[in-house]
Amino acid sequence: MSSPKYPGFDTLALHAGQSPDPATGSRAVPIYQTTSYVFRDTAHAASLFNMERAGHVYSRISNPTVAVLEERIAALEGGVGAIATASGQAALHLAITTLMDAGSHIVASSSLYGGSHNLLAYTLKRFGIATTFVRPGDLEAWQRSIQASTRLLFGETLGNPGLDVLDIPAVAAIAHDAGVPLLVDSTFTTPYLMKPFSLGADLLYHSATKFLGGHGTTIGGVLVDSGRFDWGKSGKFAQLSEPYAGFHGMDFEDESGTRAFLLRARREGLRDFGACMAPMTAFQILQGVETLHLRMPRHVENTRKVVQFLAAHAMVETVLYPELPGHPDHELCRRLLPRGAGAVFSFNLKGGREAGRAFIESLRVFSHLANVGDAKSLVIHPATTTHYRMSDEDLKKAGITAGTVRLSIGLEDCQDLLDDLERALAAARRAAP
């Protein structure tokens, strides 16, 4: 027998999770636009409800179209499985609420998407879950901030918006020494640029709205479990390793060590919080995933050209892209992100707020909006939009100034992007005091 071989990434992006529809032969993933599924008989119904048979009961818990997306992303990431959610924020919420109760504590990177920062700093605090924020590159701070009640370490693979590269192997080792998992937001890198599980992360999620969907059409999230964190051995997760009255005394770890987290997340989190993904959404995101391996190299290629252009421009103070030698995480980037550091980055414009306003309003190809990871190029001013709820001190910690501009580089003809930027930078120069 010859040596076995796994399907390649590109093949999985197109096929994983789906067989041609057994009912119709449909090659494309059918959109199962249904809330519920007819039981064969009462015994079949009871068995499905009690997890004795595989299948679908109600589309808040699982749906055949959504399941294709879940399995496909799990395959691309090398996880045991995944749960698709209504948004990336819903995926983060699902991960945290599956693992924690009031009184639990998180250690998180200070370089986070503004929405994630809000959830941790303000919203979850109301429910008794506290967070200590640390600079992502300060390994001593990660270590020092762990408390007896800590249940999770959390960061972004590429921190928002300064593109701090999370040293996943080092932070994962700190987490594991403390008997807790590491969760990463992998939105900016996608499985094409980085496989966090192979570096030591235990859980990850995507805002599938961004590069996975890739076309700026659809809000969604995906939470993926590596299946490698030993919840029972840790002894800190009674949610997974003790009988749960909310599901007939089920001990999720008894059922399966590798599936325990996803079992509870689906059977409790989707059931009770209900932030599920709609089948049409899953279909639209699947269309994007099918070309992820074609789009990401072009995103990175265009980004590198734009970064070089801006780094050499007189109106630009700094460009925060870790492939540049001056970026603090340059070496880490070379080690962890050999395929590229993504297509979202920030730069600091000279000339203050007025120059920033003139720059953004003079762009014609770039769209000024609150999103990233679209096939089209995008621009935003974080201090007045995505991060506007953060205090000045928190903004400083996250590396954001009044002149910081964030770009998401799309798939256009790159010369058109450079021309657009040149025109806007000239306008900024004229507007600068």
């Binding site: 299948g55 045991v80 029972g232 399966s256 689906r266």
Partner: protein
């Protein structure tokens, strides 16, 4: 349920039910490198339908202490000691791959204690290739890859998992990744070295069911022929599946087991 066997901790999944001497018992025996949850859906069904269930983690696997046992015969003796420790007088045994050989050996050695045997994804001889054994002996990732890829139907990585949202390859690799050094090798070596198959099959007097996967790359259906022919009255069910039949065809596997294992009311 935790039991102590030979001074070491052993785990048996009981579907959250206390064992009841009045109920018939079903014991599930997993394959090399895996654990009790490979039978997750099926064991849960029987545990919630009037049977005592003991889905075991062999020593060194899942949540049972090591070291792993070196032969199928030793594993059969260990299963008998588990039954003793759990006060289970008789049981039906459902074994997959390595576990199927253990079930067979138990039925031959302890006919008074074994009511029925269901052998899933089985073969005799259960030869393991030298490259696979050597990679496992060296605890190389390549051994986990072989177990994972050959352990499923060729289309499994592309097809849909009946269990929504789960990735079969990932689940197998995650289990194998938790094994201590040498555990997979011990299991594969035990399968490879088992030489009593035909002799033991001839001693089996209880009803026997074979559940075989038509797309099984590890133990193709024809490789079970000598065993099924050696057990008088054995029934054979073939399913459209690879080697991981309980995961790839969970409902059909359960249906075959439900038909084969008598309902509680029919058991004396």
């Amino acid at each position: 349920m935790q039991i102590e066997i030979d001074g070491r901790k052993a785990f048996a999944y009981t579907a959250a039910h206390a064992l009841d001497p009045a109920k018939p018992s079903v014991v599930f025996l997993h394959g090399a490198g895996l654990d009790h949850s490979w039978f997750g859906l099926q064991s849960r069904y029987f545990g919630h339908h009037g049977r005592n269930v003991l889905a075991l983690d062999f020593p060194g696997h899942g949540r049972s202490d090591g070291p792993p046992l070196a032969s199928v015969e030793e594993m059969a003796g260990w299963v008998a000691r588990v039954l003793d420790a759990a006060n289970v007088r008789t049981a039906s045994l459902v074994g997959h791959s390595m576990g199927s050989l253990v079930a067979l050996e138990c039925a031959a050695r302890y006919p008074e204690r074994v009511e029925r045997i269901a052998l899933i994804g089985t073969a005799y001889p259960m030869k393991v290739g030298e490259a696979f054994l050597e990679a496992a002996r060296r605890n190389e990732q390549g051994a986990f890859d072989m177990e994972t890829i050959w352990g499923h139907a060729p289309k499994a990585p592309l097809g849909g998992n009946p269990n929504p949202g789960m990735w079969m390859y990932g689940d197998t690799l995650a289990r194998l990744g938790r094994l201590g050094p040498g555990v997979l090798h011990a299991g594969l070596k035990a399968c490879n070295g088992y030489a009593a198959g035909i002799e033991s099959a001839a001693k089996v007097k209880c009803p026997a069911l074979f559940i075989l996967g038509e797309r099984d790359q590890m133990t193709p259906p024809k490789a079970a022929g000598s065993l099924s022919q050696a057990i008088a009255g054995a029934r054979v069910v073939r399913l459209p599946s690879g080697h991981s039949i309980m995961a790839e065809a969970p409902d059909a596997t359960l249906d075959a087991l439900v038909e084969f294992l008598p309902a509680p009311a029919a058991v004396k």
